[in-house]
Amino acid sequence: MKKYECTVCGFVYDEAKGMPDHGIDPGTLWENVPADWECPDCGVSKAEFEMVEA
């Protein structure tokens, strides 16, 4: 499971935790997060995230 950080605001998406409040189940791999998903804190696109922790 990996973690991805929003390069604009610092929000971290943790694959292990997912985002159940946003309909993304725990364990959802980053590649399976929808391409039109936006950072829940600042609203930038998925493309602006980078991997921070393997």
Partner: protein, 377 residues
């Protein structure tokens, strides 16, 4: 063909440019900046020490790369000294630059207290990537940092300095940290947690003159306590940059006044981000900026689009004790109701009609952000 010109290459300017191109808008685009024009995110500056990020690591792209990606001309080291709103042209480094539409994305500047004393000039503030570079250089020899201003930015820097192994002293007149955005209970929890990690708090007092010592600086607080530190950081807030607009006859108040379409009082001239006061509100946070950039890109690309804000909770990066807040509107009457458990603190702000109009979360309760945002709607 006259280009659309954006003044400012911070998040507001670059996000707007990106959104314009994402909408397939193909007109000529010029961005103007006084600095080097690197693309970086200002909110990341107050959390970069713990992540061991230097200026290079915070730079997401150079001006050259941005110019290529955006198919735009980026004028770096370029100062706009005048806007001729009649002829629709700018004076940049003494040269004339015509525009079709002009966007002011010129951000905010740090408020500086009228400090006195032999060390007053050496008090630092961090408001952009260049400042951050200087701050890092000064930190090389600094173990103990005193921060004037225990608000959002001051507390985030305190958190980051503590995580990077430094000693921190906080000074300010506020009764509790971040007091304009969060209720006392959550502020006290931030204070307590940071204190446990080594921060010293001097609240409800002012610093005195900043004196230079053989090593570092000192100041005697109004309370009589003498604080000594290797470096003093001022973080007492920011103010929208309005001078350029004011000089050009554009209506300004606290910020550059715009309607909900981000249009200023002058034809073909728009403003967004930290410099703008949009429909009466200056919101120097990232979520409103992103919403503004998306709306303005649509407008400039031909579809008039109004800024409509959803609930936009502010995430405060005091990671030792995380906080999320959706403060009640300015001047709202009502009271906080607090639920404190060992899992954190939930504060709800109700108005006189007993309607929930704001909330604040501290500690583990920050994971309730989506639930509370829903409660609000």
């Amino acid at each position: 063909m006259r280009p659309t010109v954006i003044i400012g290459t911070g998040l507001a300017g670059y996000t707007l440019a990106k959104e314009l191109r994402r909408l397939q808008w193909q007109g000529p685009l010029v961005l103007v900046t006084e600095d080097e024009g690197q693309f970086y995110s200002k909110p990341m500056l107050s959390g970069a020490l713990a992540k061991k990020k230097d200026v290079a690591a915070l730079t997401m792209a150079s001006a050259e790369k941005m110019a290529a990606d955006l198919d735009a001309q980026i004028l770096t080291q370029s100062q706009v000294t005048a806007i001729d709103t009649q002829e629709k042209q700018l004076t940049i480094n003494g040269q004339k630059q015509p525009y079709d539409k002009l966007v002011l994305a010129i951000g905010s500047f740090p408020i500086r207290l009228p400090l006195t004393g032999s060390g007053a000039e050496e008090v630092v503030s961090v408001n952009n990537l260049t400042d951050y570079g200087h701050f890092l250089n000064r930190l090389e020899k600094a173990h103990h940092v005193a921060i004037i201003g225990p608000g959002l930015i001051g507390s985030e820097f305190a958190n980051d300095l503590l995580l990077s192994g430094r000693q921190v002293t906080m000074i300010g007149p506020d009764k509790w940290p971040i007091n304009t955005l969060i209720p006392e209970e959550i502020g006290r929890a931030v204070q307590k947690t940071l204190a446990e990690k080594g921060a010293t708090w001097h609240l409800e007092t002012f610093n005195g003159p900043i004196e230079k010592e053989t090593k570092g600086y000192s100041t005697v607080l109004k309370s009589g306590v003498k604080v000594e530190a290797d470096l003093i950081l001022s973080a007492v807030g920011v103010r929208p940059t309005v001078e350029l607009a004011k000089k050009a006859g554009v209506e300004v108040n606290r910020g550059i006044v715009t309607d909900s379409f981000l249009k200023t009082s002058v034809d073909s001239l728009y403003a967004l981000g930290d410099c703008a006061e949009v429909a009466g509100r200056n919101l120097p946070f990232i979520a409103p900026l992103m919403i503004q950039a998306k709306a303005l890109a649509k407008t400039l690309a031909g579809t008039e689009t109004e800024v409509v804000y959803p609930a936009m909770p502010v995430v405060i990066k005091t990671t030792l004790y995380p906080v999320v807040t959706q403060p009640p509107p300015m001047g709202a009457q009502g009271a906080w109701r607090i639920d404190a458990t060992d899992k954190g603190i939930i504060g709800r702000f109700y108005n006189k009609e007993d309607k929930l109009i704001g909330f604040a979360l501290g500690g583990e309760a920050t994971d309730q952000k989506a639930a509370l945002t829903k409660e609000l709607e």
